[in-house]
Subunit: 148 residues, 2 copies
DNA sequence: TTACAAGCTCAACCTAACTTGAGGTCAAGC
DNA sequence: GCTTGACCTCAAGTTAGGTTGAGCTTGTAA
């Protein structure tokens, strides 16, 4: 039934592999939440573990805390996320994740292609040509990496 | 506007979409190289465009400049990279890129799975369980994200 | 031959994402 | 009730990855 085993910040740190100071930091940024005991100590619901897991994995692939926070905002404040809540978050991120995956593959396969083409022929390298094509779109324009 | 072969720092900036200051920075870090004119101005070979392209894409997916620099070190100093040179770089990165791709898919599909499982059953969530499993491997152990 | 955009160096500054440290509190075992 | 380790807050420090600005030089088009 109940026995909502609440976790201390130290327990969350141990189980998630994230430093206590980082958890404080995430909380200050609004990425995770806690309530306090009468003695002012933090207590976390178990769903914080999933949140932290998502935060770390997303960070590892180059997503900023700000973006992660924005995505996590779709999760509810006062209750355990439901199927619909996660559904929304997943949907919000899907495109971005797909783009990242595509980018990684381009990088990996682009390098492979460079082997194929020998990278001797500057004008034929898929990587470099995209660059030049973009430069033609206007000076100073920041390259849209996703377009690579 | 003369020789097509050599590029000024401004030209590289325009074509790559990277700021001049960033190019200076990359050069200071040894990620790209240039030689100087008699007037002490930088001139770049055209292969710098490919290097910069790789640097930016790699960064975008969360690879640090230090790692990128290490990978680029396999490229030759004094000549245009050959097929074998790129082959080596690609090989060096292949595993890392594959891991990143796998990680992104896990994140994307993990969220999808969470929808499937409703994320109501804490003990069955693939994301969270991995966390706990890792925590069992020892206190304070940094989570190996790749293992997710 | 001069105007001025583009380049150069070097130091200072900036944001993100944390960590460290000082100084003080809380709680569980002996 | 005392000790000890886990917590608390807040400020300052750190690393990565650049940007900005000052002061000076180069190079090119009118």
């Amino acid at each position: 039934m109940v026995a909502v085993t609440e976790l201390t910040v130290g327990q969350v740190a141990t189980r998630s592999g994230v430093a206590v100071s980082a958890l404080h930091f995430y909380e200050a940024r609004g990425l995770i939440r806690s309530h306090r005991t009468s003695g002012n100590q933090r207590r976390y619901g178990r769903d914080v573990l999933r949140r932290v897991a998502i935060i770390r994995v997303a960070q590892e692939v180059g997503i900023s805390l700000a973006e992660i926070g924005a995505a996590l905002e779709s999760l509810p404040e006062g209750r355990t996320p439901t199927r619909e809540d996660w559904n929304l978050l997943s949907t919000n991120w899907r495109d971005q994740l797909d783009q990242k995956i595509a980018q990684l593959k381009k990088l990996r396969d682009g390098l492979t292609d460079c082997i194929g083409c020998g990278c001797m022929s500057i004008d034929k390298c898929p990587l470099r040509n995209k660059e030049d094509r973009l430069s033609a779109q206007g000076p100073g324009a920041r390259r849209l990496l996703v377009a690579l």
